[in-house]
């Protein structure tokens, strides 16, 4: 329990009705979603990267079409070693929920929903 959890928070008020919709809602991307891909512990990448993808994409297609072209920008990354060189997980705040990846699993199967963070670290 931190101070943040215990203090009273005043209600936010507005002059009139104020209930705007999200400007990043999934519906704004058709059948696609945004996903964040995060190389945990590798500061070469200044932040996780955001991609617009179909959740039906297989992991193999994700690896060759999305992942490798971006991450091979790190001169120390060796795409030839395949995705087995990493442990994969969904990052939820400070927790890492491990996911098992294989060529035919889709991103949706892995639990990658809109604006989820797919993390990985060296195995």
């Amino acid at each position: 329990m931190t101070l943040q959890d215990t203090i009273a928070r005043p209600e936010i008020k507005s002059i009139g009705e104020y209930n705007p919709a999200s400007r990043s809602a999934q519906e704004l991307y058709g059948d696609d979603i945004l996903m964040h891909v995060w190389w945990k512990g590798n500061p070469w990448f200044v932040a996780a990267a955001t991609f617009r993808v179909s959740p039906q994409m297989t992991f193999a297609d994700f690896w060759t079409g999305v992942f490798v072209p971006y991450h091979e920008e790190d001169p120390d990354f060796d795409a030839g070693k395949g995705w087995e060189q990493f442990d994969w997980f969904l990052a939820v705040n400070r927790d890492a929920v491990p996911v098992g990846v294989s060529s035919e699993t889709t991103l949706a199967d892995l639990g990658v929903t809109h604006k989820a963070v797919l993390g990985f670290t060296a195995a």
Binding site: Q4, I12, K13, W38, A48
Partner: protein, 521 residues
Amino acid sequence: MTIAPKAPRKLSMKDRYSALTRDLDWEPSYVSKEQIYPLTTFEGITIHDWSKWEDPFRLTVDAYTKYQAEKDKRLYAVLDGFAQSQGHLSLTDASYLNAMKLFIQGIAPNEYNAHRNFAMLARHLEGGGPRFAALCQCLDEMRHAQTEIHTLSNYNKYYGGFHNFSQQHDRVWYLSVPKSFFEDALSAGPFEWLIAIGFSFEYLLTNLLFVPFMSGASFNGDLPTMTFGFSAQSDESRHMTLGLEAIKFLLEQDEKNVPIVQYWLDKWFWRGYRLLALVAQMLDYMLPREFMSWKEAFELYFEEQMMKGLFEDLAYYGIRPPLHVDKAIQEKEHVSHQAYWILYQFSHAAAFTTSVPTAQHMDWLEEQYPETFPTYRKLWEKEQRNIDNGGRHFIRGLPQLCQVCQIPMGFTEADDPFVQAQRESIFEGERYNFCSDGCQYIFEHEPVKFRRAWLPVHQIYQGNCGGPTLPDVLNWYGLEPGDGGEYLGSIDHQNWLKWHGDPAHVENDHAPAAAGAEGGQ
């Protein structure tokens, strides 16, 4: 209303102030106060007696105009002298101007925004004293926008990155950081604005913005910027006073105001601190002649003055230092390095240039940050190997952005300072991502407002920024060749060498710099 009797030759400051300010206020007779001042109750703030608001400056309109005119006169004399003597050639280096490009793109438009909101306050606050102080500040902020643009327009004749600051402020990814910060405040009620901008920004944090910027300018041969900065900053001491009077007034008026003010303070400290990441990297990386590290500036202007001074004063009213201030203190060893690394990697999409710090500059950084810089230095050495192999690196993708501060999520954990932080919250079925506990805390309190955020990356993917490809987006940003990319070999750099008769320029003539060609698109 009665007409004041003709004033005797010399009224004391106190009397003149009350005659010219307080006495111009009156009790309405045929409309209610609620009708005249409809904005001062909805935020939940209770005011019992508006006449208790003090303005220690006791400024009257005659004194105001007299001294403001004098300030402008002094500034314009400096500007003329600098322009006539080709002063831009005596800067330390053309790369110094990257700091000023950020300034005109990120800050000047927000001076204008500040003027808009203080005009609103000058109309809507219920006390004659605070209304007049807000009116003066409204005019000041307009003056700041104008003098900043006017001063920097001289550089626009010779250097890239200055020509389209206003459109860029509205569109470019890193400028959404200061833009969204100010628009968050502009769309709040008058009291939240006072705590957000008047107090948290002007009193608590503005020293960290202006004083290092202007001393840095002085140290790098930029006399006009130093002069407009100090000229603006001399108004700032009045603004700081308005902010401090505002918070004390709200706290003294009613106990029920205390938790509301505390939340605003928690929120706006963190919002302002995150915004200053841009200043941190400027101080540590963008000044060719270094003068003070971010860490030292933070210790001097924040820890010494505010934590040890101001917050002990405010404790009397039951106010504690802002939440997450401990995180800001921990980050002083890291934040500038992380912020510049972000800007370096994305400067192909920016209206300023970046470069790997020189070995001598890295030695200075290592002296300032003996604990942490060695780790960041390894990154630069890795990048230097890239460059030696012919490829200066720009990231070929789009970064994850924080929903609140809108900065790419490159900030790290307090207890694991080289691992980036990930935070998320689900609101009405949608997930939102944050760079820190501070930003997550703000979102969770105001999810409806912050789900409305216009995040550049998300907008690009919706096709709202000129088209699907990078050139489409850069075109929509209004960038021109030479505005962004790598500094070495850039148009600014080549011109600089040419104007200084540097022999290195001859080489550049024969081999158009590869990095510049890639970076300047």
